[in-house]
Structure formats: structure tokens, C-alpha cells
Amino acid sequence: MTEQVLEREALAPGAGERTAIRFPEGLPGFEAEEAWELVSREDVQPFLWLRSCRQPALALLVVDPRLLVEDYAERIPSHVPARVGADDVGKLVLLAVVTLGAEGGATVNLRAPILVNPETMVGVQVILDRRDLPLRHPLVVEEDGEE
């Protein structure tokens, strides 16, 4: 958990609440949507919304995977940052897609991270060739009753 602070600074240069990101290939399932914005809202922290600029009702819930898996960046193969024109994964913004289940549970997709180059604000969702990174990593276990 040592890299937490670094991440937040990388995400929001100038402490803006909304950060535009262009995905030239769209996202899997939403290939036509190139323009997105990262929306930071207090009520969903540490999550962020990745919202389509063209369809504001379309938003994915995302989280920085380095908050969950300390050595996550090290697990990304060295050739992958080139997908967004970078040579070092340490300089990238990383986002993992969160899926909410019934009863307050949630999983996070560690297999297919979103990479954003903060210098160009261009992003891509990659699928890593790593079986040890699950598509549905349990994040919050479902609870029967309210606390």
C-alpha cells in the first residue's frame, strides 16, 4: 500500500474533479465510445466513475488496482505500456473495472486493466496474458445483514 498517494496525484493533476481521456479503440463492449471522462466523487471513493462524454448515462465504476494489489504494476509485462506510447508502467494511470454484485458484494477485473498515459490522456483497456490475475477478484464479500 505504499504507492497510494502517488496514484491519486497522477489521476488528477491540478486537482480537477473531471479528467478527459480519449480511447481511440473505445472499450470492449463500448467500441464506439472514444471520449470518456474520469469523474472523482467523494461518495464513491476509492472508486471513480469512467463516464462516456457522448452518453453521460453510461459510466463504468473503476478503481486504481494498485490500491488493492501492492505489486500490481510489476505484474504488467514490460511491452504493454507501449500500447499507450509509454515505456514505463510507473508513469501510467491504471484503472480496474469494478462489478457490483447482489447483496453489496463487488469484484474487480485485474486481468484487463485500463492504462492511461497522463502526458497524452490517451487510454486503452488491455487484456493481460496472465492467468494469475482474475477477471473477477473479490473486492467486498457479500453480507447477509446490515451492520
Binding site: 491519486r8 463492449g29 476509492p46 472508486f47 490500491l67
Partner: protein, 81 residues
């Protein structure tokens, strides 16, 4: 759909920069070798479909549920305040 027959060792070229070679046929199993530029994502179709599914499920999250799960995560110390 374009259909081509290939023998082991033979390849096809896609768009000039991508080469798909048939390496081996063993029973019902075919091994392919793909050479592509680093910016091209090469992935098994079923894995791509699984990612489409998780993305679409994520897009169904509503504000209230997201806030609830987020508060649970924060109270557990898994997130940052």
C-alpha cells in the same frame, strides 16, 4: 468470411503487419503463432467476451450501490479517505 486452407508451417498476412502461422495440428487442437505490432491486442475470443461482460456489468452499477460498497471498503481500511 474469408476461408483459407493452410498446412503446418504456412502463414497468412493480415494488413501487412500481422502474421498468423499454423504451427501444429494435433487431433482437434491447432497451435497458431501470431506476430503483430505491440499496439495490436491479440487475445483469445472467449477472454475478450468475458471482458465485454464485466464492462457491461460495471456500467449497470448505480450511484447508491456504488456508494454503499465504497463505504464498506473504506470502513475495512481497503480504501483511502
Amino acid at each position: 468470411m474469408l476461408v483459407l486452407s493452410r498446412k503446418p508451417g504456412e502463414a497468412i498476412i493480415i494488413g501487412g503487419g500481422i502474421r498468423v502461422r499454423l504451427l501444429e495440428v494435433r487431433g482437434s487442437h491447432v497451435r497458431l503463432g501470431v506476430e503483430a505490432p505491440p499496439e495490436v491486442n491479440v487475445v483469445r475470443e472467449e477472454l475478450h467476451r468475458a471482458v465485454v461482460a464485466t464492462n457491461r456489468e460495471s456500467a449497470r452499477a448505480d450511484d447508491r450501490s456504488a456508494a454503499l460498497v465504497a463505504s464498506r471498503l473504506r470502513s475495512r481500511g481497503g480504501g483511502r479517505q
